[in-house]
Subunit: 321 residues, 2 copies
Amino acid sequence: MPDDPDESFVIDTLLAARPPDAAPVIRSGVAGIPRFAPGDDAAMVGPRTAVTVDTMVEGIHWDGRSTPEDIGWKIVAVNASDINAMGGTPTWAVLAIALPSPLDRPWVKAFSRGLGLALEAFGISLAGGDTTRSVSGRTLSLTLAGEVEKAVGRHRARPGQTIWVSGPLGGAAAGFLDKTPIPSALLALRRPHPPMGLGKMLAACGHVSAMMDLSDGLAKDLPRLCKASQVGASIDPTALPPHPAVLGRADALAMMTSFGEEYGLLFTADAKADKEIISICTAFNCRPSPIGVTDNNTATGARLKGTPWPRPLFSHFGDPS
Amino acid sequence: MPDDPDESFVIDTLLAARPPDAAPVIRSGVAGIPRFAPGDDAAMVGPRTAVTVDTMVEGIHWDGRSTPEDIGWKIVAVNASDINAMGGTPTWAVLAIALPSPLDRPWVKAFSRGLGLALEAFGISLAGGDTTRSVSGRTLSLTLAGEVEKAVGRHRARPGQTIWVSGPLGGAAAGFLDKTPIPSALLALRRPHPPMGLGKMLAACGHVSAMMDLSDGLAKDLPRLCKASQVGASIDPTALPPHPAVLGRADALAMMTSFGEEYGLLFTADAKADKEIISICTAFNCRPSPIGVTDNNTATGARLKGTPWPRPLFSHFGDPS
């Protein structure tokens, strides 16, 4: 449920044109594939297999401040985050890479190093790929599959549940927008490290009803969750956990909600499970924060208490989701 | 085994940087995943699951003579061909699409129509995707999975086997290079229709040792098969089946061998199986041609009898493979 009208148009047009349930594996239904709404972080293509794809375009998704190693790392990390957010564990990936001519071999070497580090860190096998020439600039698409025992999408949040984020917000925003970002903010932007395994444990505990990552920021992502689940949400701005880079700043709220590139988890859970949620997150070195509650107010959707959502600090059509 | 030094560099560098057998599904080995050489049309990611990805870049892989419908059709067809060439049946796909701003909505609509037609024709479910903005030009990557009961790669051809192509050659070359191509040549270029199902039947018959599609043309693709299988090959140029568009022309040999974009199958089979091969192909409305034999002459590799391979008529770094 993207809010960009162009992106909505592309997705709606593609969905309208595709034949219904064409593949035998889907059509047969024997496998009991869970049905998920378009807009989930990953699509279920088998009873236990999820798949996601994210593209990074030079000049849109990164600029000269990211090294080629950073880009190699990040194209894996953003996809791993999507699998994590479905409650899955990444397994294999294929990479499509378009590079301008003449080939910049040192770039390829450095990019491959970063990619290899991330594949190793997240336990992913690079199964194959496609290399091609581009007219200008680099474009990367990584398709990542994951094994999912119990999938959690965005559409089963219920009114009266606690809304959680798994960690601090605003780091990547500071890494991108600050003139001289602190090192941990730069790291959050350039080498994001999703809490891998946490998504699976939260899905398994049985109390988490909806989950997604915050790649587009709370101000965009929470309304999507609310719309998919047909619930409202009331967020306490003072409960949002600031990254050290934005702590105490006047622009902290916007940095925390309206930039994105966050790869922690946003999820809803039964209020009675608060202690269990904290215990699970702590096991993954995450400090979760309850930031609000879901309600029946679908008309107003996701709201910040006492203040409107800050305006987006940055936007590119078709943010990774 | 690409012959472009740039493409080789990218692939070798990526392969060198990836961690060995990182994913549990691969590492465990319990599933008995067949091992295939890099360079096969698709990668096996499970005991019965193959996956491939192909990218199409505007200005590299297509120009103004292809309609948006053609592009939508073709990005599916070229990937379906890879799955077919492994002996598989396509199942699900995810699409990554990067489009320049402002969005050309009629283009998106027409592209989606072509895509939908091909998805339906080949029985593929579009499971998900990613839309993003590009700086300039359109870039499309489709990742396609397939179900493979018996996979056939490129590395098991043996000396003394018959080399086959499943249909006429040179159509796409004429469609692209001729000033006023005949309609069937334009169709071969713009709406390729791989013989879906044929790859699976050839794999199942038990006589086919190596198989691939001819997306880069016989002059590039046959040497890859020979190198992977460590065999030589002797091709009779008079046995190559010409597409009607190149029949009797002086440049027919080059058009048939040195352009590509052919989505028929190239395969090797025991000589004793000739009749069975013809019978299987005929059932798929294909007229197969035995074009030569494999031999022990690995030093000289794949040769045309009595003439050198014509020079490539067109090349872009990183042709779909």
